[in-house]
Symmetry: C2
DNA sequence: AACATTAGTTTACTACAGTAATCTTTGGTT
DNA sequence: AACCAAAGATTACTGTAGTAAACTAATGTT
């Protein structure tokens, strides 16, 4: 199995910017993320190192950055981790908790039902 | 605001054991958790240090452990973090994703609707 | 051409999670 | 009383996240 590529919290804003628009140069990219530029550059470098992001060299001073790990991959990983860790893998328990604590309306649920049933 | 008490992943099994039954001695407690005893003892100590767990001394060699951070507190923290981090705080997006990816049935949702509407 | 600006690389430091061995008591056993 | 087993405390080591300064190279500006 290809070992799971981790994206940690400080790297996430950078990934989000890449997901938002693939193939930007680092300048474009990082101008869309807040924080110390040097730090951001380090984080971007680590993402590349670990294979979450792919670089394409345009010329000696311009690189374009592309997501290797997709947002869906990321969400899936987070969802599964969360579900297992907090609700022992039970979607039922999870749903119940969200509905109760996040005040999800009956209407919102009905809309979901409609969506499923087409 | 009372600063948030973090419970990290390796500590979680210990907390779960405490939530399951409050007030056990460390021996009872840790026998319900797998892993190297020395490690577990360290983790339990850190939980006490950080105030997630409270100790009551019975006598010089026996202590009982009680949860200060409740399971609900923990779940709430995790839920909020997850929601913000992965779905930018949108319960709608989150629900949609779970329903799609975790194959939640229309029936399960209807049961939730009933529950809400009483 | 000299220089400042800026992109990208290297180095670095702290905090903390994860893991566990060792040391120190102290209560139980022979 | 002597000793052992076990509880708990102390110490410790590695890896990685988070943060950022310093260095280097290349480019555009005057």
């Amino acid at each position: 199995m290809p070992k799971k590529i981790v994206i940690n919290d400080s790297e996430l804003p950078i990934m989000k910017a890449i997901w938002e628009k693939d193939g930007r140069t680092s300048t474009e990219l990082l101008s869309n993320v807040t924080g110390n530029k040097s730090t951001l550059k380090t984080l971007l470098g680590r993402l590349v190192e670990r294979g979450a992001v792919r670089v394409e060299e345009i010329n000696q001073r311009t690189y374009r950055y592309f997501a290797v790990v997709s947002e869906d991959d990321y969400i899936e990983g987070q969802r599964k981790t969360f579900l297992n860790k907090v609700f022992n893998g039970s979607t039922e328990k999870m749903l119940l908790n969200f509905v109760k604590e996040e005040n999800i309306s009956a209407d919102a649920l009905r809309r979901l039902v409609d969506l499923i049933e087409g």
